[in-house]
Subunit: 230 residues, 2 copies
């Protein structure tokens, strides 16, 4: 499948590598291609400069947000939550219309110190997932994978034999089925993919971030997740 990834950070890169490994055609999008390739610095998390990553992952196409969104039949929003709307607007309504958009982003507000809170207006009674769905009504937004670190997203078997939970929400059942199929390619088991209903489910999964961040602060690793015990 042709897949577009919006965002060249750690999340976008790990998804791009894995999707290529799985045999998909992938293009990754950035605001300004030449600026991104000219940047020699590691990112704030110590990840290599994009151009070094891209040299080692040359099967991944590179384009502007617009070119990237136009490329795929499925689009993944892997931008920083605070910039997602801007990036997706640059990607363009017509390039997203009719497509499934997997939204992995979290509306984190780093302005008040660490750990971040959720952005005002995008928490409790609203969410980033809903904000994106509202802004792009012809796009089928599916919220998933936003409750874990990016390594686990594409490799659930990294911990606990892969037996832990990933939530899915969205208004379109066919879109959710398509996303579920892709998640299974990553190694997710059907019984651990919990459909929590329409896109208002994003309020719930984005609200997992505060406890996720607290736990990460205590156990000093992001390589963890929660398993549903019943």
């Amino acid at each position: 499948m042709k897949i577009s990834i919006i965002g060249t950070g750690a999340v976008g890169r790990i998804l791009a590598s894995k999707l290529v490994e799985l045999g998909h055609e992938v293009k990754i999008g950035t605001r300004n291609v030449s600026d991104t390739l000219a940047n020699n610095a590691k990112d704030t998390y110590g990840n290599p400069a994009f151009k070094d990553w891209h040299a080692a992952n040359s099967k991944v196409g590179l384009g502007t947000f617009t070119e990237t969104a136009a490329f795929g039949e499925l689009v993944i929003n892997a931008t920083n939550g605070g910039n997602s709307l801007t990036a997706l607007k640059l990607a363009g309504d017509k390039n997203l219309a009719g497509k499934v958009l997997i939204d992995i982003a979290n509306p984190l507000d780093f302005s008040k110190g660490m750990p971040p809170s959720l952005l005002q207006g995008l928490n409790n009674t609203h969410s980033l997932g809903e904000e994106i769905q509202d802004a792009f009504p012809k796009t089928k937004v599916v919220k998933t994978l936003n409750t874990m670190s990016c390594g686990l997203m594409v490799n659930p078997n990294m911990i606990g034999g892969g037996d832990h939970i990933n939530f899915i929400s969205g208004n379109d059942n066919e879109a959710k089925s398509k996303v579920r199929k892709l998640l299974k390619e990553f190694g997710w088991r059907d019984e651990n993919l919990l459909d929590i209903g329409d896109i208002t489910g994003a309020r719930a999964t984005e609200s997992v971030l505060p406890i996720w961040l607290k736990v990460m602060g205590v156990i000093k690793t992001g390589a963890f997740n929660f398993k549903l015990v019943k």
Copy 2:
């Protein structure tokens, strides 16, 4: 130990029964004792009238919020989150000063329909646990048990061999140790009691409610919890 329970709903009752069974002296508090005993109706969740429950649990003392708070060396807030501050103010600052207060309540807002959201002003960058700690600075507030149904609070072994998580937060380490000991009496294993730091941890555990409510809506039972997989 002499333990006070503020709130005569399902949570307060199940805690009272269990604590008596464990050999503690327990008093349960209500706003108006004669009104509570005069009420013959089941509650909104179908639980029996308080007086029927109390007849079957006669070892549990009954008093006003004030009398109850004065009784115990440890106090448990088992009121509805929206009423907690009012109830605790009636219980009285002097009856709570110097004591450990276990806060189990969640600031749920049922006014916007189901599932409830969190109350405005008590979410994301604030929490009920902090609000209580701010209102009663001489009291040692410990937030715990608020991320599960009340049956599980006192009987973790009901599911998954008891192997699932319960978070603890609070500003006073000695108070947290005392609470941890009590939780172990309920059957909680030390390794599943995760101390997430000071009382700002209440922001994180109260934020678990949205996903908890979504999951309950999907699996149609409250008899579930999450296990930390790492």
